[in-house]
Symmetry: C2
Subunit: 230 residues, 2 copies
């Protein structure tokens, strides 16, 4: 075995392993309503957090923290903050969209056994971080990579994850007692699921269709149509 | 078979499938130097882009575009932009860190057969997007989720990915002809690899160690130590 300071042989996964990775990617859903009441063990939760902790981070900064929320009182405060913001949100849409918007369930805060806030500490690693010298938001991007790692691991484990984003950040800061230098990047509801939508829920319910991938690909510069595929 | 409008049974993956997902997560690396000169086919590239396109997105907004760069001329312009920014970057570090910083190879722009810029169109989906009413950056976060999906699919396919972030955004906008409403979120170098570091390269080379996960986990509110694990 080579020492860890040296690259070691690393080829493609077997076909069945590749299939498993793509299965996680293609069948992952944003879950609001499918959480069962089965408890989520700390051991399983720590497997998810380990997956998140192995995300790429700029300068190996690892700017994330994980606030695991099991307290019903904290969840209730978050639920209130969501409800206030969501009442504001509905009025922002065109009138013909409001009935459908109001009919959508957009969170599972109280029903998910665990809520998880993944934060970004913007001071971690000191004032100058490798790779963050010209884009200050690379630490936030790293934190989002951790979210996606966790989401895919959760799918494989039979857990659903829902990302709730309809809050005033100031409410979240107050509820979770966040210091000024820490940004709440993602608020996730996590729990076991027995079923999932086969397409994204917003597609299944007629809110928005999937775009054609081919229309989103350019060659070399913005706007250059990509040549026909092999 | 149930219609797509209804949740369908969805349990945990088999143990071997779970192992494959975790293998992708734990063995993914940020690659700068291990690209081989084996060409990257369009068919394989499109599998990666399909994985990216199945990322979660706020309001199913799908704000991403994919600029596939195979042109040596465009790569050379990007390489120049990187070199200028990196020369500025080295001077930002404390003197005792500069020799190691300068010794690190931080990009594989010219050696990777494909460069890929993943962008975020901040106007997609109209002025009001579900879930983005209270956090305008949720579209950027969605785009980063697409990056991480692609990165994990690439690992399974035997491809390396390196994220290059040391640029002035204005240079990238000019080179890729980006409209004002489109943000370049990630500039990636992609190619086949035969070997990878067993730990993150910045750890292997003594730049930064991995933090202890347990120290990053709080209970219910910031700063509350998590109870001992099961």
């Amino acid at each position: 075995m080579q020492p860890p300071e040296t690259p070691a042989p690393a080829g493609p996964f077997s076909q069945s392993e590749q299939d498993a990775v793509y299965r996680a990617i293609f069948t992952r859903r944003d879950v609001r309503s499918q959480f069962t009441d089965r408890p989520l063990s700390d051991a399983l939760l720590m497997r998810l957090l380990k997956a998140a902790h192995h995300a790429p981070s700029v300068g190996f900064m690892q700017p994330w923290n994980f606030i695991v929320i099991r307290s019903a009182a904290v969840k209730a405060q978050v639920q209130d903050a969501f409800s206030r913001a969501n009442a504001e949100a509905v009025g922002m849409f065109a009138e013909d969209r409001r009935p459908l918007y109001s009919a959508l369930k957009l969170e599972g805060i109280a029903t998910a056994p665990v809520n998880l806030c993944i934060t970004c500490d913007r001071t971690r690693g000191g004032k100058v971080v490798l790779g963050r010298t010209h884009n200050r938001d690379m630490d936030i991007y790293s934190t989002v990579c951790a979210v996606q790692n966790l989401w895919l691991a959760a799918r494989a484990e039979g857990l659903g994850v829902g990302w709730v984003s309809i809050f005033h950040e100031s409410d979240m800061r107050l509820i979770l007692n966040l210091p000024d230098h820490v940004v709440p990047v993602a608020y996730l509801c996590i729990g076991h699921v027995d079923s999932l939508y086969q397409t994204p829920e917003l597609q299944a319910k007629g809110w928005q269709d999937r775009l054609s991938l081919e229309d989103l690909v350019f060659a070399d510069r913005w706007g250059n149509a990509k040549a026909p595929q092999d």
